[in-house]
């Protein structure tokens, strides 16, 4: 057991924080979000040259093979910067799915271009807005020799408007509840039979609904059950997302402390009031617990499925609850200014709302976590 950061991890944290401070100020981000593209190709190229896009990719495919904690340290900095570029979708989710499922040739072909920043890949998985971690998949895949064709509807595909390639989940059998028939397919975003309806999300990032009508697709890896790998990548993504939330929460707490120390009312800084001091102490306590949960989930990201999933659910619950409390209190303590679009407080608030929902709400994860206690359940 060892809970100290390695030198490499410390370096990545420092590099990421200084990059965000220098290149991704609130004003710079505002301009990026307001641009036609909605993200910055220059920033993406910087991420590639800094080696960040290959962090989760093994060395033999052009990455550095970092672990989930290292990934988390970078995500925390991206959270602080409210980075909209599709890091999670491409460099974490897509890279890990390709690494876990793809053939050697596919890994080589797809991972190297991710690490180099030449390809943006989105994961088209969700089909019902109320089911963020679907177990059953309606989208169908039919094989036509070596070529596959897929048909179905996906929604809330994060970062899809920027993607050149999609990873799409589809079912290779007629039984809608047959989880073992779930496969992941590689589909070109410009292929025939695809209709993409892009839109904005509340945090300034972008997503799309995508309809597939006999779209040509390539199977990722072998014709075998991909559900287990999708679960593993989802749990890793949850850990990464939790670290991003930590970055947002820390920034909100820092800003709130600084603001309440300088805002004078009734002849003294409002931070002199005990009711505010204790509120901020509560924010700090929740942040500390959230941070511990996120780190725990990252360290357990390669554990056996049940342990890993429970750690991820626990983190999603703690981080989700803390994110809601801290962001609401940050707005409250900033007073009317907190409700304006002029401060970044509101931007953090919105990103934390998005994170709370993505990959399953705290309530959903609590229900999932509670299944292991169901022996205790004797409902009447």
């Amino acid at each position: 057991m060892d809970l100290t950061l390695t030198d490499e991890q410390k370096l990545i944290g420092e590099a990421a924080n200084s990059f965000i401070a220098d290149q991704y100020s609130f004003e710079a981000r505002r301009a990026i979000v307001a641009s036609d593209a909605g993200f910055s190709r220059e920033i993406w190229a910087d991420f590639a040259s800094l080696g960040w896009l290959g962090l989760a990719i093994r060395e033999e495919f052009g990455g550095s093979g970092a672990d989930a904690v290292t990934l988390g340290i970078l995500m925390e900095a991206l959270g602080r910067g409210l980075v909209v570029e599709p890091y999670l979708a491409t460099a974490v989710v897509a890279a890990k799915l390709i690494d876990g499922l793809g053939s050697k040739d596919q890994r080589k072909a797809l991972l190297e271009v991710i690490a180099e920043g030449k390809s943006i890949i989105a994961f088209a998985h969700v089909e019902d807005a109320n089911v963020p971690l679907p177990r059953d998949i309606e989208t169908m895949a039919c094989s036509d020799g070596d070529q596959w064709r897929i048909s179905g509807q996906k929604c809330l595909v994060f970062s899809a408007p920027w993607a050149d390639t999609l990873l799409v989940t589809a079912r290779a059998s007629d039984d809608p509840h047959d989880r073992s028939s779930i496969r992941v397919f590689v589909v070109s975003a410009s292929a025939s039979g695809i209709r993409t309806s892009p839109y904005l999300l509340l945090d300034g990032s972008r997503a799309a609904n995508i309809a597939f009508d006999n779209a040509p697709a390539t199977l990722l890896g072998r014709n075998e059950n991909a559900a287990g790998e999708i679960d593993a990548v989802s749990d890793l993504a949850i850990a990464a997302l939790c670290f991003e939330a930590i970055g947002c929460m820390q920034a909100l707490l820092d800003d709130t402390i600084a603001y309440t120390k300088t805002r004078i009312q009734f002849g003294k800084p409002i931070a002199a009031n005990q009711v505010l001091r204790h509120r901020m102490a509560s924010m700090a306590v929740q942040l500390e617990e959230a941070r511990a949960s996120a780190l725990r989930a990252a360290l357990m990201a390669t554990d056996a499925p049940e342990r890993r999933a429970r750690a991820a659910s626990g983190a999603k619950l703690k981080v989700g609850r803390a994110g809601r409390f801290i962001s609401e209190q940050a707005v409250q303590l900033h007073g009317a200014m907190g409700v304006t679009d002029e401060l970044n407080v509101g931007a953090y608030f919105k990103r934390l709302m998005a994170i709370e929902t993505m990959f399953g709400s705290p309530d959903m994860h609590l229900r999932n976590h509670a299944r292991a206690w169901q022996g205790a359940k004797r409902t009447r």
Partner: protein, 396 residues
């Protein structure tokens, strides 16, 4: 970072398990499980303390030079987790966890040589003379006086909420030795022999029916000057150092996990008369809280290991650990339904044979819940912890 155990650590875990299997008696386990108060009575922990002493495992946090085992954080974690999981009694914290670390850091050569071995052997049992009738959360307002008279201090005043003063033969006490404008600067840290003339105690019974606390009266009690720790009027510094360890060191999480799983066992056993409703999400919420707390503890342990002090993180642990404890006792009450109305007047509970109205596994639940309300009050109330976090962690 790595959560896994090495081959050596796994071997150590087996060693601990074997030790527990050999030395932890059913009586000691029952005594701990029927302890509702926060501090376990000597009759319950005696045999376990003696076994640990023979093995050199009494004080997992002490360095080797003072008779500790010199364990790594991982070894401490393993030891505490295994002991808690097995339901081992808690040893008295006042010597091992509180005054011990203070003596190691600030005590004289004589004090270290004399007192530390007696803490380890269990020969001395300590209590904590901090709070007074007029000084609770505002500890620095304490008024027990110590007046220098040659080689002695003459101590007069009263201490309150003194846990196990009725068992202890020693008390570490904060006393006023000077009237300074800044109240913290006139306090000294004395080691008092409870058998001295002029020391008397009065029991205080809790709402849970337990005799854990006392009021201690000090009337012209003579304390040799050599039993003053560190410098005169610098006692506040030592007191704060002690409080950090009282609040921060140790593994609350392991104990909380044990308490939660005990409740789960209770539910499983009650198949013929199960609790109404679905409690699984409440079990999960508490478990997730414990997981987070345990992780903060593990990180803090690494800090202490590399020479740091617990600092304000100890307040986070104290605050959340006690809140989680209370959520467990509340769950216990809700799980046993009407049985939570039944009051057992006899104490100690572990001395009651088979003639109680409630079975053993439900016998302590009500008293635990009632006594448990004290957890967010003693050792610095929850509100004081918020204040410390605001001041020291957030620089507010």
């Amino acid at each position: 970072m790595d959560l896994g155990f090495s081959r050596d650590e796994l071997a150590f875990r087996d060693e601990v398990r074997e030790f527990i299997a050999q030395h932890l008696t059913e009586m000691a386990k029952r005594g701990q499980s029927l302890t509702a108060a926060s501090t376990t009575e000597p009759d319950v922990f005696k045999s376990w303390h003696a076994a640990l002493y023979r093995r050199g495992w009494v004080a997992p946090y002490w360095p080797k030079e003072y008779g500790g085992p010199g364990w790594t954080p991982a070894q401490r974690y393993i030891f505490e987790s295994e002991s808690a999981r097995a339901g081992a009694p808690r040893l008295s914290p006042f010597g091992i966890q509180m005054v011990g670390p203070v003596l190691m850091k600030y005590g004289s050569g004589w004090q270290k040589e004399y007192y530390l071995p007696r803490i380890l052997s269990g020969e001395d049992l300590w209590c904590q003379g901090y709070s007074e009738p007029g000084a609770g959360s505002d500890l620095a307002s304490l008024s027990t006086r110590a007046t220098r008279d040659g080689d002695h201090y003459v101590v007069n005043g009263s201490k309150i909420w003194t846990t196990h003063a009725h068992f202890a033969n020693r008390m570490f006490a904060l006393v006023r030795t000077a009237n300074t404008p800044k109240r913290q600067e006139g306090i000294s840290f004395l080691l008092v022999d409870m058998n001295s003339a002029g020391v008397s105690t009065r029991p205080i019974i809790t709402i849970g029916g337990d005799h854990e606390c006392n009021q201690v009266f000090l009337d012209d009690v003579l304390v040799p000057v050599r039993d003053r720790v560190g410098e005169e009027n610098k006692g506040w510094t030592y007191a704060k150092y002690l409080l950090e360890f009282e609040r921060g060191a140790g593994f609350r999480a392991a104990r909380l996990r044990r308490q939660l799983s005990t409740l789960y066992d209770l539910v499983r056993r009650k198949k013929n008369s199960p609790p109404r409703g679905d409690f699984s999400e409440r079990f999960s919420e508490i478990e997730i809280d414990i997981d987070a707390l345990e992780f903060i503890e593990l990180k803090l342990l690494s800090t202490i290991q590399s020479g740091g002090s617990p600092g304000a993180t100890s307040s986070v642990l104290k605050l959340r650990g006690t809140q989680i404890y209370q959520s467990i006792t509340r769950l216990g009450i809700d799980l046993i339904g009407y049985n939570a109305l039944i009051w057992e007047p006899r104490r100690p509970l572990y001395e009651i044979g088979g003639d109680a109205v409630l079975p053993d596994e439900e016998l302590a639940i009500l008293a635990m819940h009632l006594d448990g309300r004290a957890h967010t009050i003693f050792g610095g109330a929850a509100e004081i912890q918020h204040e410390i976090i605001a001041k020291r962690l957030l620089d507010l």
